[in-house]
């Protein structure tokens, strides 16, 4: 039995090494083959390659190596100018409504995590959110967008330090490094939000639509659960709103989210709305047996504090695979149904 175990470990190690080597080849190319990168990244990106891989997948970093330095320098400078303009006058010059909301949300973003409690990180987050908000007046800053900024910041920070980003004080970074992390986070967050802007505009039609589709989908893939929820007067809006608004970030750990985004970024700009609704459906159905024994109160309480604390890459990868299957079976059927 021990022999079997060690054989398994050796096999896993060799798979990991093999995957690492493929990433080294792929990312080391003069001109990155994006199709190849997508194929590799779907199954998860090794931590040290992630900052670069995410930026390539988002189209922020150019695929040909020679263009990268100048592009990054330009984008980072552009962000600095945006910040300068936005904060040119003193506090009274800011959009008061937007600033007020950001100011009260930043200190309660990931409370208890040291990185996010440091003043320097909080100032960065304020600037990222404020500059994004004034550039997108149709939505402005909406609660939950603060959550979405955090994975980018942590991943990009990890490229510059050797310790766990969550324990790090960004006040210790040289200014130009912090500026770079902040700018990269801003542009990548902007790209992510481009795909889900109608989640955050008036009446949040994007979320309404996703929840409607999720309700229809669950009725087909798990009719027993669907009718139980209906019998208990549970409305999907009561729990799934947060799942859509914060992309499940309140349901799973940031580490889980980061792994999930490896795959989402491969799936493309629509993934954070389209693919995400399949992930949410698979996520709900996962608890079907339990939920079907519960009443309204039990269901709602269970769904708002799900037992995912012990989740690692394995659980997330199962969820992504289930979502992938659902997506391939139902996506066209749903589009057809909705007359799209």
């Amino acid at each position: 039995e021990d022999a079997q175990k060690s054989e398994k470990l050796i096999r896993e190690k060799s798979i990991r090494t093999n995957r690492r080597n493929k990433f080294v080849d792929c990312l080391g190319a003069q001109d990155v083959n994006i199709t190849e990168l997508r194929k590799l990244a779907w199954a998860g990106i090794p931590e040290d390659f992630r900052p670069m891989a995410w930026q390539l997948l988002l189209g922020y970093l150019p695929l040909p190596t020679p263009l990268r330095t100048s592009t990054l320098a330009r984008k980072r400078q552009e962000y600095l100018s945006l910040v300068e303009v936005a904060f040119a006058r003193d506090r009274e010059g800011l959009d008061q409504q937007i600033w007020h909301q950001i100011e009260i949300d930043v200190p309660r973003t990931r409370p208890g995590v040291r990185l996010w409690m440091h003043a320097s990180t909080q100032r960065s987050l304020e600037r990222i959110l404020y500059v994004w908000a004034i550039r997108h007046p149709a939505s402005g800053y909406v609660q939950g967008i603060n959550d979405l900024a955090t994975p980018f910041f942590q991943v990009f920070l990890s490229a510059y330090i050797d310790i766990n980003p969550e324990d790090f004080d960004t006040g210790l970074l040289p200014k130009h490094v912090l500026d770079a992390i902040e700018a990269d986070s801003f542009w990548c967050l902007s790209r992510l939000l481009d795909g889900i802007q109608d989640n955050y505009i008036f009446a949040q039609p994007g979320i309404q639509r996703s929840i409607r589709r999720m309700t229809e989908l669950v009725a087909r893939i798990d009719p027993a659960l669907s009718s139980h929820l209906e019998a208990q007067n549970v409305e999907f809006m009561q729990f799934a709103f947060r799942w859509m608004n914060c992309l499940l970030m309140r349901e799973i750990s940031v580490q889980n989210t980061i792994r999930m985004w490896d795959t989402y970024l491969v799936e493309g700009p629509d993934a954070f709305s389209q693919f995400h609704l399949y992930v949410c459906s698979a996520f709900l159905v996962k608890w079907s047996d339990k939920l079907r024994t519960m009443d309204f109160q039990g269901i709602i309480m269970f769904l708002q504090s799900l037992p995912t604390q012990g989740w690692g890459d394995h659980e997330i990868e199962m969820l992504l695979s289930e979502a992938f299957v659902l997506n391939s079976i139902w996506h066209n059927a749903q589009s057809h149904f909705n007359g799209k």
């Binding site: 949300d105 309660r108 402005g140 949040q204 729990f239």
Partner: protein, 205 residues
């Protein structure tokens, strides 16, 4: 024989006035300086015991305060038997927002809904910008219950929920029956003052 009644309670109010903290204090007797903002709404329950072996179980929907989430609110106050509309005594604008919520409840919610106006962050007396008189006067005019609380210290928190429990009609279970019970001239109850004839109840502060 003991009787238990169930009522739906909704919390409304501007962002960061302390709605979630108020409920956390009431339900778990806890307080955190920083808590993640509420997205959509959170559901909690708590039971309070009244005299004569009667208990009231509150099913609480704690809603998100940001303006953008406003369109979700009707789903939560639609069937509510009572509402706690919260403002922050250090933020005059939050009382304005509370007035807007109260007008909306008066127009859209069940006419029999019991509404309490609650001035939170009482521990920040030095930064007070909303006087008790002003809030109380408004509550009187509108026939609302009123009280001040501090979710941080716990002051006034159980009192406000207890006062609501006493105000709810405990005669007609199921509590949702009788949607047309309208009591326009309902006198305001001052939660911060001893109510006459209630002197044997330690919770009526």
């Amino acid at each position: 024989m003991s009787k238990q009644f169930q009522f739906k309670l909704v919390l409304l109010g501007e962002s960061a006035v302390g709605k979630s903290s108020l409920v956390l204090r009431f339900v778990k007797d806890q307080f955190d300086d920083y808590r993640e903002s509420t997205i959509g709404a959170a559901f909690l329950t708590q039971t309070v015991t009244l005299e004569h072996n009667t208990s009231v179980k509150f099913e609480i929907w704690d809603t998100a305060g940001q303006e953008r989430y406003k369109s979700l609110a009707p789903m939560y106050y639609r069937n509510a038997n009572c509402a706690v509309v919260v403002y922050d005594i250090t933020q005059p604008a939050s009382l304005e927002k509370a007035r807007t919520w109260i007008r909306e409840l008066q127009r859209q919610a069940d006419p029999s809904i019991v509404i309490a106006l609650c001035g939170n962050k009482g521990d920040l007396e030095a930064r007070r910008q909303v006087s008790q008189e002003e809030a109380k006067k408004y509550a009187d005019e509108e026939g609302l219950m009123w009280g001040e609380t501090s979710a941080k210290s716990g002051d006034g928190v159980s009192d406000i929920f207890m006062a609501i429990a006493k105000k709810l009609p405990l005669t007609a279970p199921p509590p949702r029956a009788g949607a047309s019970r309208n009591t326009p001239g309902r006198p305001a109850v001052d939660l911060n003052k001893q109510a006459a004839g209630d002197s044997n109840d330690p919770c009526a502060c």
